[in-house]
Symmetry: C2
Subunit: 232 residues, 2 copies
């Protein structure tokens, strides 16, 4: 049976595209500009770049987004915009990601229309349930481990939250919060189809090598978990 | 001849609706909440409320916006959202207002569609020309006088900028920056069809009285300038 997500993607086709999600973050990028960081992450196997720049003006976000749009297209990667549904639409991103302080999920779904991907942050079962009911295409679940990348993240949930959500919902899950190459096998085994990272990639001295190490762990752990539809 | 603006409004119908534009501003509201401030301004004759809250999360902006949407409908006033085109669409505002650091005008026009009003800030003739070319329905021109309401405002232009723009373009102009009841006649005489205020209304002890005094000056000055289509 082919399962369609609210965005119209087939679940089995979106899942491999969610393997390695890299969030841009000016603060953790050691002075390297966003395009340099994103290009290096894509070279290492990032499958999604998420544009997140809470301090930028809308004009700057649009400019950064247009540059990332070209870069991600060239690499066959997805581009997702954090929080700003207007910027996602303006730069023709593949979708938007909203957290609990952002646009309510049902409104974001309505503005994005049926053709774009909507990711939603979930830190507990209740948030996961509401996000699924309101039209999320994937959930960013966490923080799984303690993290320094997001100042506003809640307490770490551990991989058990991935197990609990994946036992109840068919929505693809992306583990976020303190993810490294070392703990990637554990979160994939717990039910994630991919991971989202900030510091372990964008703060690395060799961004490409850091991304490649995590992407390789995702690939191996997905194969071990019997997940189909591997990107090559 | 009926002139249609890009939003589909007739120019002569939009102009009276632009008479008194009050921008919400948490910082200058002396601890009064946004709905209290907006309700008092509407009672005094504000014709547009512009939601502006640069510090708020998107979730908070949407909540504030939905409350203002109800309030402005009840008063027959317009609701415009500053910068955030996504929030404007989500709360079904009448339009959005963008400045030079916000969404580029052509993109904002595209996202808003043909049915919503797009206001654009212009601080000189070149900005006015570009805004008109890209689909602005009205221009917020200024800062006309020195102002403390917007930390990022440029140097004061004086009413001469209104004269220069209105001599070249048919787009309705709203004077902004340091506007009071005392200088309102001067900016209307110079070519504005209305004024936009922050501190002179939201920081007033009696917001309703402050709004009423300015609205009365706009009405009188518009009549003196022979502008038609007065709201009553
Ligand atoms: Ni490359």
């Amino acid at each position: 049976m082919v399962e369609l997500l609210p965005c119209g993607w087939k679940r089995e086709e979106l899942m491999p595209r969610l393997a390695l999600h890299v969030l841009t973050d000016r603060e953790w990028s050691r002075g390297r500009d966003m395009q340099t960081v994103a290009a290096a992450a894509l070279a290492g196997g990032a499958t999604i770049i998420q544009l997140r720049d809470k301090q930028a003006t809308t004009r700057t976000l649009v400019e950064e987004g247009l540059a990332l749009r070209e870069l991600t297209r060239r690499h066959g990667a997805l581009l997702i915009v954090n929080d700003r549904v207007d910027v996602a639409l303006a730069i023709e991103a593949d979708g938007a990601h909203v957290g609990q302080d952002d646009m309510p999920v049902a409104l974001a779904r309505k503005l994005l229309g049926p053709g774009r991907i909507l990711g939603v942050s979930a830190g507990n079962l209740a948030e996961a349930e509401q996000a699924v009911a309101e039209g999320a295409d994937y959930l960013g679940v966490g923080p799984i481990y303690p993290t320094r990348g997001k100042a506003d993240a809640g307490p770490a949930t551990g991989p058990a939250l991935l197990q609990a959500i994946s036992a109840r919902y068919r929505v693809p899950l992306v583990a976020i919060g303190g993810i490294t190459a070392a703990n990637t096998p554990e979160v994939i085994a717990a039910g994630a189809c991919g991971v989202a990272v900030i510091t372990s990639v964008v703060a690395a001295e060799d961004i490409t090598a850091a991304a490649r190490a995590i992407a390789e762990q995702v690939r191996a752990a997905r194969a071990a978990a019997g997940l189909t539809g591997e990107a090559t």
